[in-house]
Symmetry: D2
Amino acid sequence: MAQALQAIVEEIVTAMAAETNRGDVATYIPGLASVSPGHFGMAIVNADGTVVMGGDAELPFSIQSISKVFALTMALGKVGDQLWKRVGREPSGNAFNSIVQLEAEHGIPRNPFINAGAIVVADINLAGHMPRESIGELIRFIRFLADDETIVVEEAIARGEAETGFRNIALANYMRAFGNIHHPVELALGVYFHQCAIAMSCLQLARAGRYLMLDGQHPDGGNVVSARRARRINALMLTCGHYDASGDFAFRIGMPGKSGVGGGILAVVPGKASICVWSPGLNASGNSELGTLALERLAEATGWSVFRARG
Amino acid sequence: MAQALQAIVEEIVTAMAAETNRGDVATYIPGLASVSPGHFGMAIVNADGTVVMGGDAELPFSIQSISKVFALTMALGKVGDQLWKRVGREPSGNAFNSIVQLEAEHGIPRNPFINAGAIVVADINLAGHMPRESIGELIRFIRFLADDETIVVEEAIARGEAETGFRNIALANYMRAFGNIHHPVELALGVYFHQCAIAMSCLQLARAGRYLMLDGQHPDGGNVVSARRARRINALMLTCGHYDASGDFAFRIGMPGKSGVGGGILAVVPGKASICVWSPGLNASGNSELGTLALERLAEATGWSVFRARG
Amino acid sequence: MAQALQAIVEEIVTAMAAETNRGDVATYIPGLASVSPGHFGMAIVNADGTVVMGGDAELPFSIQSISKVFALTMALGKVGDQLWKRVGREPSGNAFNSIVQLEAEHGIPRNPFINAGAIVVADINLAGHMPRESIGELIRFIRFLADDETIVVEEAIARGEAETGFRNIALANYMRAFGNIHHPVELALGVYFHQCAIAMSCLQLARAGRYLMLDGQHPDGGNVVSARRARRINALMLTCGHYDASGDFAFRIGMPGKSGVGGGILAVVPGKASICVWSPGLNASGNSELGTLALERLAEATGWSVFRARG
Amino acid sequence: MAQALQAIVEEIVTAMAAETNRGDVATYIPGLASVSPGHFGMAIVNADGTVVMGGDAELPFSIQSISKVFALTMALGKVGDQLWKRVGREPSGNAFNSIVQLEAEHGIPRNPFINAGAIVVADINLAGHMPRESIGELIRFIRFLADDETIVVEEAIARGEAETGFRNIALANYMRAFGNIHHPVELALGVYFHQCAIAMSCLQLARAGRYLMLDGQHPDGGNVVSARRARRINALMLTCGHYDASGDFAFRIGMPGKSGVGGGILAVVPGKASICVWSPGLNASGNSELGTLALERLAEATGWSVFRARG
């Protein structure tokens, strides 16, 4: 099986290298704009712990919104289901982005995977901490999930986010006006901008996502979260993980997943695999062009899908 | 297993009988308003064909929007992926209902499970037919899926829909203004109102849904749809099957499902079960109050969820 | 004065004849699409009853939405300020058209000069009548205002409106769903489509608008409406008369006015003049391109504006 | 005439003192919340320079959004019609406030009298200045208009605005994300918060508004703005001066006007009067409850209205 999978991954890596329509690299901060669109990497950790990878699978990139999965997991550990009083769990579902809904829905963001929701989650994680401590706690949590002490924040990226993040500053202030940000907005945003600036490779991310394929268990033993919570995070990734293309991703690929504007996608096949692909060029919905395509091919070749009877 | 499941179902039926918060029965047409909120039924068809059921599982009720699943399946058989030029596949995702999005998105409904999308699907199914023939074709298709020749349309319900369906008439005309309804609106709506008025029991619906748990196969042999199409319909049910509570349903229950305003919910566990619950009282999102609760208990008791590693 | 005004009008007529950017003629019904964009007409009735006109001032055209002014005046005569329970009096104010607001505002259209509002007004005028009688009553009212018994409905235009008016049918059904249309929608729409199809010349319209410059009085004596009601209709024309370009029209021209998709604009300078211009080509906001320009020049040349100290 | 007007004003002052439904005083900053709802003042400067006033007409209050009229006038003096590339001139026109429209309309606020528009105007006025200089320039301009050197900013109010103005900070950052704020947002907001905190009495405001009734002239001689610009500012006040109640204000009162959350309303009758009323309690639309009522009575008693033939 691992051997067959290695062949599939190699075929995908070769095919992706030949693709000319690679999408557009995010340009809003220099640290992202300077990444070559030629990169492609893929790493798969199977349920038995074996690893299959190809391409630039060990090159770190900016995980950006993929961090929202780990930050949510940490925040649920802190406040439990109280979190859902401040954040919804429905797809945002339209091309108008979320500030419209914040107005109509009184400062409660639709879900924890849109920016507004992730800023509330950062505000929750900040409770009782200084921003530096809060981001440190998240980094340590991710290192524990990935079994890798080398994971760090890229300070230049965090600075770039802060300098250009006017829309996020607007979202945070808007929610503060409704009382849904409890700390000074610059502190909550400080945490948020830093978590987006964490650098990880496909391999590190696929390892960090293992608890989501294992009903919440850490492969080294013990529970990261309960089985129920793992299922629920997977559900949120499936319905909300790709902004307004979440439905299309579920339709085409059928795996819980979370994309980031750095070009990474973390995808989970419960009981089977934790997967990460990376290619920096983005499609019109802001998700990795080749990453999405590669996952679609992987799903076709392996039959992996949560919507399938046999696989 | 079937025995354990029987015990679970019985326990749920008993618990639901004792529930006092049963939601509100739809009142917009007499044929729905007159149904007693005391009903509760549940039927499960396992992958091996065995059936477990309880309560009013054999009492027919108005399937309403559950018909959208079968109508979509039939339309995809007729026009294939061309259908997606006229209907999207993203959650509608906000409390403002779909006419707002129709305007912003130029008459293309968000997905085939909101009313606007289902009216376009009815318009597709109508091609080359008279309305009577089109609805006949759908009835025959559902009878084939359920192996049951007794399934019929309740004409009084269809008439009631037509007499009170001003919002649906508005949606159809609005889409016609954008050229996305090809037949006279009264014909497309005639088909739509009749398909909503089909009466089926939990048992009949659970049987009709078997192809969705079996990768597209009819239990009697042969493919209803390809495995890929079955996965995709499941994906749409998961992301869009419960209007603006689809995210919550995925979060709490984790099964592809489709609700109807008659109080029924069809749910699918690929490879394991096709399930139908029915209780006429609706929650604030327009989905069966007890039906949702019963499925949540069933999921807890069985471990059934597409987001789970083992189950 | 009348002599100076005649010179101004002639200059404008000459200038408009030379304009090459004439906008686009409405094409949604044959009766409008076949009108030559070369037409331009202007008629001014002064407070003393003298008339100045130029170009195609005596050629009838389809008055379309200008009819909303007269229909509103008639409805206010029937039900008085009760009308404002069913229609608002605020500018609709955004590029999304009114169906969005109908949803958010529960079927109450923003003002009587958007289509939804005018359909409610038609529904009010219909009370106790057959559609034929109601439209007959409106025609007689307009003939009385204009002192001209030759004004008629163009039946081919009315038929064209009915055959292509899917958006209006949608609006009417949508409001019916909220209970804000009291008659069968086809009757209310029948009245509406016919009032839009009334044909009048600039001269006839300028004469029909005299009561609005004369504090509600008919020049032949007697009140058409009270002085207060005349002021209020003028206010509505100023804030709402040009759809989402009403602010711009007030800014550039400073007169209460109402445009129609046939290319006519009725404008009022209280105490001074009732004006009608006509040129069939429309700008991006759906108002007459040359009509707007001609009124702007007239305002510059005469100093007429409600926002001016001396004039 | 001035004598008759004095009687009218006295009657209104007496009537307003007896009103029990006085609206709700703004409470979002202490400096506003502490103002007694019992205040009522009115001042009228006639075209001949005579003054009629009553009640608390000489008591300073926080002018808040009335400052937008003077800031706009100053900005138009600096950049002329270039300003309209960055701000629209249409009523915002719906109950959803402006951030929704900023998203749909790419950071261009609908008009200069909603908060977003006024922040852009503040950003324009800031060009080449430090915030302190810019606000100083505006104060000097208003002192010149009112012929009164005692007008100042209340620093405690400005500080309160800054501390609670999360929604305005959100608006500014949101527009900055679209490139429509050119200075650091805290500088533009600093100017904006200070201009809102200017304190003036009814008498001072009515004097400051004289140029708008005099076709742009300062009563002491010379033009403040051209006659055309004065007309246009009046037009904007009429269509946009009372947020989403602008249509209703035009309908009931028929004068260009601008309200502020401090309870003041500046109203203009071109050629006749510059008026200011003040009462701190606000109605549901955020405009002075008694101020609106008092202007309605004044309009009835005097016949003043831009929509009237004789007056």
